[in-house]
Amino acid sequence: MSATVAMMLALAVGTYAFRLVGPVLHGRVELSARVQELLSAGAIVLLVALLATGALTEGGGFAGWARPAGVLVAGVLAWRRAPFVVVVLGAAGTTAVLRAAGVA
């Protein structure tokens, strides 16, 4: 069990170190407006990549049709400026209904 504890500690310390990069550098390094803009854009790029891989893939392969269909419904609802609750529940509901109907 000590190996598991060491694994958790390494993961916890490493993850926290990643999370400290921003606060530690903030105020010490003068970031130009251009770099600030690139950081915000970078965060959006990461989130969209997470959204795309999260919607379409599972364990390195295709996630099946039910999940991307639900996320597509969310995209349409969000585009039509539906409330946040409707967007998220619409996605989960669509995916659940498709699965219940036998669509993987």
Partner: protein
Amino acid sequence: MRTAERTPLVRDSALVWFASGIVGLSFGAIAVAGGLPVWVPVVMSLVVYAGSAQFSAVGVLLAGGGPVAAAATGLLLNTRTAAFSLAVADLLGPGRLTRLLGAHLVTDETVAFALAQSDPARRRAAFWISGLGLFAVWNIGVLAGALAGGALGDTATYGLDAAFPAVLVALVLPALREGPAVRRSALLGAALALAVTPAVPAGVPVLVALAGLAVYGRAGRSRTA
């Protein structure tokens, strides 16, 4: 920030808390059902606090991959939090203690929530409201799941795996609508991430997506030219 302005933030966050709580339940249940003692998923959620990395690390561990491979997989998945912490660094507060605490709350969800707000005060409120609630609900969910074992069954039945990408859709769409440069970069990044997914370890695809920023500057310049 007044109560009236906080209410929509709490209402929108609550839905993400709920979904995370259910995912936390399944994480606790899966870890214990796989043979780990109850305290492992519980302590892990408190100190690591990163859903996808926890799932991967426990998955590697339960598959017999060994603790080094489990830690490496989780760390690779979490490298993106370094980029996120840079993007939200000015929201974490002026004091040393709030910054140290705030850093632990940097997750995909809190960053997406914060960046979706229009002004700095709302961004800060969104980060802390969604972050503190998410931390509480996630950990309670994991504890409950670890104690309950497999009682919940397969959460895929409820379509909850579609909820998180849907949350991201709702949160990033305003930023994508506004800027053609961001839109171009994000689309290229997502395409690259999807293309490399079958070939590389988990965590690498989203990092590869950052290469999409290569077209950010060009698009911006050509627009002003």
